[in-house]
Amino acid sequence: MKKVQAKVVYQDISGGFWGIETQSGEKLQPDSDIPAKFKKDGLAVEVSYKPSSAFSIFMWGKSVEVLNISKA
């Protein structure tokens, strides 16, 4: 499990989705929708996650299972 400081980003690709970009620029693709309250472009968050092996139409960043997300 990893815990990182990141921001939520909206990507207008494949119809649009919400991803997470860490402070180091790494792109994380949650393997399920993040809660609606975090769906704000640029929102600073702290995320705990572990790698996942999902496939998707988004093909953006590393697929991860978000274990916990909170506003930073």
């Binding site: 494949s14 119809g15 792109k27 809660p35 496939f55 139409i57």
Partner: protein
């Protein structure tokens, strides 16, 4: 008015008691003035205790009551042949003062309308968290005397957990800033606060195209808005295709979120298959790009002239959120291949520097059954070698280009893979479930465009292998500035002419 009557009656009674007492006293009888004073006190204080309006207005009411009361008493004294002047003069003075005060009050009211009208109300849009209730912030709203009502009562939580939680909050303009500050501070309950700015609404314009004066041979109304149809010279392809017949009608499988098989622009070419519904829309969009019926007076145009060359099928690999697993994707590939797919279009993938074995095996199996597999490079502006199925042996990998035929900023670089090719993938209009049409961007859109071209190629030469198809695409492709990152841009006219020339 009621106050004036009551107060006047009380004043009149009080002075009447005085008057009667004075009459008694003049006749040498005893007179106790205390009840009269008590009654007068009540009468004079009544307008102030129970009256309405400003202090000035209440004073005017009191003087009017005093004037009326004293005048009644003056009449009473005169009737009893007593000295009426004692009440008449102050009564008239009271009435004059009451009138004067009312005149002042009238003008004061006119002035106050300018300066102290009802304070302006500001409307805020306050979005609660999905699990929160308005009661949780009621104390804050009450503190600023704010009113609230659901902004979108027709939407419930199951339909949209954002909109269902939005409230209109109205507050005096003087307090809207501190209220907003306090609400924003309450991050436990409040997701978002903003002023409900006025907007000018324009009637939404449906997407329309020039039916008259179209430069296209095909009559599909949205063709004029498909920039890629112009860029890739679809019209020349139509001129070439419209009198042609396929050697074999090709089956093109969309392995995706499913396909809305009853969409008006797809139903004519959609064949019964497991993915005939689409809860997301992505698969339906891809299907239209690949082989939507063309020259049918409906929707968009592809290269599938009058639906004569390609049959579409759908195989669900991903759920309604657009996500799936190794297993669901591999299953869909296998099912598509066993269903007789000549071309498989896969606008999906994931970060897998080492591709999952089940997918490697599934694609190997599909190729063995004769399918040509076209996959997306990915949308991470990264090396496509780190993404699967792009990095699986034997697939043609498609990068996305923008309107200038430069690499789309999001598109992965595919040129370190064996079979890279490029196609338009930004603002691509195509079919969407429910009879709609929408524009999407992504290597997802570029992939079915190439798959459709490959389907057309195979319709003339069904025995073409993946390697032969790729060589033709590459040899006829257009070299552009970013070809070093994306491969050449497909050129349908040239490649179809090349294929048919070999017949």
């Amino acid at each position: 008015m009621v106050q004036i009557v009551i107060s006047s009656v009380l004043v009149a009674l009080a002075f009447l008691v005085f008057g009667r007492g004075m009459v008694k006293k003049s006749k040498g009888k005893r007179f106790n003035p205390l009840p009269a004073f008590a009654l007068l006190l009540v009468a004079l204080s009544y307008p102030f205790l129970f009256g309405e309006g400003t202090l000035l207005a209440r004073l005017g009411t009191m003087l009017l009551a005093v004037g009326i009361g004293m005048s009644v008493d003056a009449i009473y004294l005169a009737a009893n042949k007593e000295n009426a002047k004692l009440f008449l003069v102050p009564g008239i003075l009271a009435l004059i003062m009451a009138g004067f005060i009312n005149v002042i009050g009238y003008f004061a009211n006119q002035v106050s309308c300018v300066f102290t009208d009802q304070p302006e109300r500001v409307t805020l849009l306050v979005e609660l968290g999905p699990d929160d209730e308005i009661n949780e912030v009621r104390s804050i709203l009450k503190k600023y005397n704010a009113d609230y009502t659901p902004a979108f009562p027709q939407v419930d939580l199951t339909e949209n957990e954002d909109l269902a939680q939005v409230f209109y909050v109205q507050v005096d303009s003087l307090f809207h800033e501190p209220l907003m500050k306090e609400l924003k501070h309450d991050v436990e309950n409040i997701d978002h606060v903003e002023i409900n700015h006025g907007v000018e609404l324009f009637k939404p314009q449906p997407i329309t195209a020039n039916k008259k004066g179209s430069t296209f041979l095909a009559n599909d109304p949205y063709l004029e808005q498909q920039w890629y149809a112009t860029s890739l010279r679809y019209n020349e392809a139509y001129a070439f295709l419209k009198d042609k017949k396929p050697t074999q009608k090709i089956k093109l499988a969309i392995v995706d979120t499913g396909v809305d098989g009853v969409h008006e622009d797809l139903s004519g070419v959609f064949e019964k298959s497991p993915g005939n519904k689409d809860s997301h829309g992505h698969g339906t969009h891809c299907a239209g790009i690949a082989a939507g019926v063309t020259n049918n007076q409906l929707g968009i145009g592809s290269l599938n002239w009058e639906g004569k060359f390609i049959t579409l099928t759908g195989y669900p690999a991903l759920d309604a959120s657009g996500r799936g697993t190794d297993r669901t994707v591999a299953n869909a590939i296998i099912n598509a291949a066993e269903g007789g797919a000549d071309v498989i279009s896969m606008s999906l993938g994931g970060f897998h520097p080492r591709p999952p074995k089940v997918q490697v095996d599934a694609i190997k199996y599909a190729r063995k059954l004769g399918a040509i597999v076209i996959v997306a490079a990915g949308n991470s502006n990264d090396d496509a070698r780190r993404y699967s199925p792009a990095n699986i042996e034997g697939v043609i990998v498609v990068a996305a280009m923008n309107e200038n035929l430069d690499k789309a900023p999001f598109s992965n670089v595919n040129t370190k893979l064996k079979m890279p090719i490029a196609a338009p993938g930004v603002n691509i209009m195509s079919s969407f479930p429910g009879g709609e049409y929408r524009s999407f961007s992504g290597t997802s859109m570029a992939t079915p465009l190439v798959a459709g071209i490959v389907g057309m190629m195979k319709s003339f030469q069904p025995d073409l292998t993946t390697e032969q198809v790729y060589k033709l695409l590459k040899d006829t492709g257009k070299e552009v500035n970013d070809s070093g990152k994306t491969g050449r841009v497909v050129q349908p006219v040239e490649v179809l002419q090349a294929v048919s020339a070999n017949l």
